[in-house]
Amino acid sequence: MDDIAIKVEGVGKTFKLPHEKQTSLKGAFINLFKGGNRSFERQHALKDITFDVKKGEFFGIVGRNGSGKSTMLKLLAGIYAPTKGTIAVNGKLTPFIELGVGFSPELSGRDNVFLNGSLLGFNRKEMEGMYQDIVDFAELERFMDQKLKNYSSGMQVRLAFSIAIRARSDILLLDEVLAVGDADFQRKCLRYFTYLKNNKKTVVFVSHDMESIRKYCDRVILIEDGNIKLEGIPRKVITEFMSGFVEHNEENSPNVEKNGVAASNLPLGIAEAVTTDKTLLKIDRVWLENLEGQKIDEIDKNTNEYYVKFIIEAKKDIQKVVPGVIVTNELGDFVVAVNSKWAGSSLKTTLTDKNKYLIKFKLLNIYEQGNYKISVNVVSEDFNTFYAWKNEVCSLYVNRPYVTGGKVNPPSTVEITEL
């Protein structure tokens, strides 16, 4: 137990969700008398979770929305009591998991600093001592006597963050702190993370930002449907997590039908008017390769070019197809979109029934550091009919020695010449 900060054993959490569908006064009246036996629906947010967090570890929890990761954090914080299992915490825990909790909009910034400090257990005298540092760090000197409701959300977050980092806890729980604030604030956050990491603080970190998970976490668990699906080093878990998205984006996921095609299944960036015809060919397999012919899911500054390869199988004889590749970043923005027509490559234009064909795209590594997803598709020559597609079928992590802040990071050269 000495080197373990948090021990979670067989924890489950079930919520009782009351059915509240009272449409008539009579119904409400009857319900009043039934009182305690309102009907409930049980929601098993977490089923059977077991893990430990070691002292000094930066521990990540990832999962899709609604997978139970925030519930897990609230259980760790002691806000929820587990339905079953035990949680043992060895050390002083930060009491809150979000920034700015307990802020009162009607009070001045100054009063809120003291109020928030009291939640961390600092009395007025101790807070007086740190007050100036907090204000300086938040860069809000001029605003401290204004009511908090007149602050912008960015200012509120800055203030909250400046207070939160004063916490003298051994174990910190952070839920999506990066989701708010501007780039400048995020840089401050990241610097704080580095500080925590260097000072061997124990941190449990929940985020959707795979980049910071990969960069800071020593170990990550992936929660899916209330269970731990995978535990391990960030790279492994993130790859698995990202491929989970692919499954959900497969062609036959249930969704609203639009023109006979499920809307979410349409290839990325396709206008509604486009027709589809899936009877002609199908995409078999998609993978990424480096120039040496090895499969990859990560490239770095030494990689100038890589391949996106996929196999298509014709179901009939077809003429003139245009295969394409789209690379999207974590936000879903198109970074690169190419197809054979735009690339000007001459392809064999006639496909024969039951034959398989390998398509090979050679792409340049122009990316900024981050996670990217590859989608592939095959369309008719006039771009009006889609024959086959696979959305976000591969993940690609791009590693760079530094982050430029630009959208892309293409190779460039600089020369200086004396004139």
Binding site: I79, L93, F96
Partner: protein
């Protein structure tokens, strides 16, 4: 246990929450804190005019104005603690859902603003005592105990009400009605000594409020205040209001403790 309850963190938090409550309460009002004094004073003026000047109710005691005032201020205190704390857990849902703090602190902090108001109001009572030439007697030393009884009784109810309110929002309406009833079941405006049937007096004195208010009047204003020992003669029954008080306090806290585990998900 006691050490844990009064840990530094809890004390700091309690102080800061009370300060916040007090600051927020009179925000945007011109007179601010003075309303804590002004409100019961105005209420008292109305009741004084109606019951003493117009209706000529004879309380059968000297200094009937102070006598009336003490009753009203104590009643107001009871009302402020219970009704004020009733919604406290729900209102502070943001804290409860996102921070691990002892839940009772929220109820206690909201009740403590009422305590501050009460202390301010005792300044008013003091002024009236001087104006009315009320002579202070040695029994006044019992006053803190009597106030503590009312406070803990109200706090026990506040714990129960605030926890029940999380599940049943009807509680606020029900409590309003009950308070109306309690207002008349406590001899605030009428002289209890003049009630016709002794049994009614006995029943009224089963309420800790009646017992405490009459005792407070006894120690502050006049020994002619009609108290528990005047109305109830059996020693066994004299214990009843205290038993009820302790029962309410203990049950209120244990109900709160039981329910507080799931506040975060129930709100």
């Amino acid at each position: 246990m006691i050490k844990r309850i009064f840990s530094k963190r809890n004390r700091v938090l309690l102080a800061e929450l009370v300060r916040t409550d007090f600051k927020l309460r009179y925000q945007g009002s011109v007179l601010g804190y003075t309303w804590s004094l002004l409100r019961p004073l105005l209420l008292f003026t109305i009741l004084y005019l109606v019951f003493i000047k117009f209706l000529h109710v004879n309380y059968g005691v000297p200094h009937s104005a102070v006598y009336l005032l003490v009753g009203i201020i104590l009643w107001n205190f009871f009302l402020e603690v219970t009704a004020g704390s009733l919604g406290s857990i729900v209102q502070r849902g943001d804290l409860i859902r996102k921070i691990r703090i002892p839940r009772w602190i929220i109820v206690v902090s909201s009740s403590l603003s009422a305590v501050i108001s009460l202390l301010l109001n005792f300044i008013v009572i003091g002024v009236f005592m001087v104006l009315n030439h009320v002579s202070v007697n040695i029994d006044l030393v019992w006053l803190p105990l009597i106030l503590l009884e009312i406070y803990l009784f109200a706090l026990g109810l506040a714990f129960f009400l605030s926890a029940a309110f999380v599940h049943y929002r009807d509680i606020s309406y029900i409590w309003e009605v009950i308070c109306q009833a309690l207002f008349y079941l406590t001899p605030l405006l009428y002289p209890v000594s003049k009630l016709k049937w002794p049994i009614i007096k006995k029943i009224l004195f089963m309420s800790p409020l009646t017992q405490a208010v009459q005792d407070a009047r006894y120690v502050i204003v006049t020994h002619q205040s009609y108290t528990l020992s005047n109305a109830v003669h059996s020693i066994l029954f004299r214990g009843m209001p205290f038993l009820i008080f302790i029962l309410v306090f203990v049950l209120g806290i244990s109900y709160f403790r039981k329910k507080s585990k799931t506040f975060a998900e129930d709100i």
